[in-house]
Symmetry: C2
Subunit: 214 residues, 2 copies
DNA sequence: TTCAGAACGGAATGCTTCGTTCCGTTTGAC
DNA sequence: GTCAAACGGAACGAAGCATTCCGTTCTGAA
């Protein structure tokens, strides 16, 4: 799994193949982001390659989806780590959400859940992701900027809500999600009335990952 | 399209058939709410009837979906009208959102869009629905409780976001959506920082209704 | 009591969609 | 010049699903 930022100046079949690795994964991301039930042929077409180029790299559709999702999980973790470097507690929290929403990482992982059996490595990445979010929420809450009754799992609700917003134009989609996120951040700021109902519990939003069934 | 609240004390085949009308529509609502691409057989099974009982009432799948969606639109309008009767401007606005979220009306209409060609009557209902929402938003804004930069179309974003939240248990889903809605309402209250980006324009969220293709 | 047919259950049908495989071709590498 | 990695894309076979068809049940009126 080569680094997408590699830019090998090599020519020839080998280099072409290496570049295709990234091209195919990018195409798969775009296609399945648009329609989680898209056929594999759509990915090949989008990447501008034949179907066999896909099957040379992945054992089957499930394998491709798993790889794609794993990749998304790593991006999620990276976003959280980057955001955590921000000194201001609230800016770190808000910046994290903006990164994840912009990168559209959440919709990928959520909509693909259940279409493959996850690996243990993915499980570890998920745990790490959760720890990072927990840290960001904790910092924001301790700073007094985040309302005290907001919990880590509220972030999941929030991301799911933002991911649901979509219009045909991707750029406009990002703008609208940003706007929606701004409303949510305003609502998460300390000072509002108490939130109703029992807060989402740990693992309550993981149900998509538990079974392989539809 | 019989009123679901009818309770004919009649027995016999005729009465059974009349009751089935409502049973089937309710089953269809539950099934397609759970999975918008569910097969028609799932509806029949859920309703506890045979497939032919369905085809006796509807010309085909598209006809059933259209009827179901039309029904949802009417429920949406009814919710808006009920909420508008509330004298307090903010309570009317918030109450409307709670009704729609609780009844899960929005997800039905949104996820089914594009699977059938709408009737003119549905178009009229949609216009009426929009006018009602516009009125509620206007009242809330004039009362000073709603932030001035929120527009009618933000309600669409908000409802879409809430509809995206779901867990296996329907009751818990409602609770979580209510919680999410509370955050959003807190964020919509006047006093926050300005919302970014151009606000959603009229018709910008109607794209699902314009084409029949996927 | 009889019987025409409304209402129904569910198997059978035919079509579409898709994942996967297979085979002939191209093109660097040595 | 030869070999095989990489490919393109047609072909295959399975699965899912909308719709139709037919035999059965039971009501309601004569």
């Amino acid at each position: 799994m080569p680094n997408p930022t590699d830019n090998p100046p090599l020519a020839g079949r080998r280099a072409q193949a290496a570049r295709n690795d990234a091209t195919i994964l990018a195409a798969a991301r775009a296609v399945f982001l648009d329609d989680p039930k898209a056929p594999i042929a759509a990915v090949a077409e989008r990447a501008g390659v034949g179907i066999s180029a896909l099957y040379r790299r992945y054992a089957g559709k499930e394998d491709l989806l798993r790889t794609l999702c794993h990749d998304g999980l790593l991006r999620f973790v990276a976003a959280a780590e980057e955001a955590a470097a921000e000194p201001d507690d609230w800016a770190a929290f808000a910046g994290f959400l903006e990164r994840v929403v912009d990168a559209d990482v959440h919709s990928l992982t959520v909509h693909l859940a259940g279409t493959f059996t996850p690996t243990e490595e993915m499980g570890r990445a998920a745990v790490r992701a959760n720890e990072l979010v927990d840290g960001l929420v904790g910092r924001a809450r301790r700073s007094g900027r985040l309302r005290p009754d907001a919990v880590t799992q509220d972030v999941g609700l929030l991301l799911e809500g933002c991911a649901a917003i979509r219009v045909p134009d991707p750029d406009r989609t990002r703008e609208l999600r940003r706007r929606h996120l701004a409303v949510l951040l305003a609502g998460l700021a300390a000072g509002g009335p108490a939130l109703p109902g029992p807060p989402p519990a740990a693992g309550e939003l993981d149900w998509r990952w538990r079974a392989t069934g539809k």
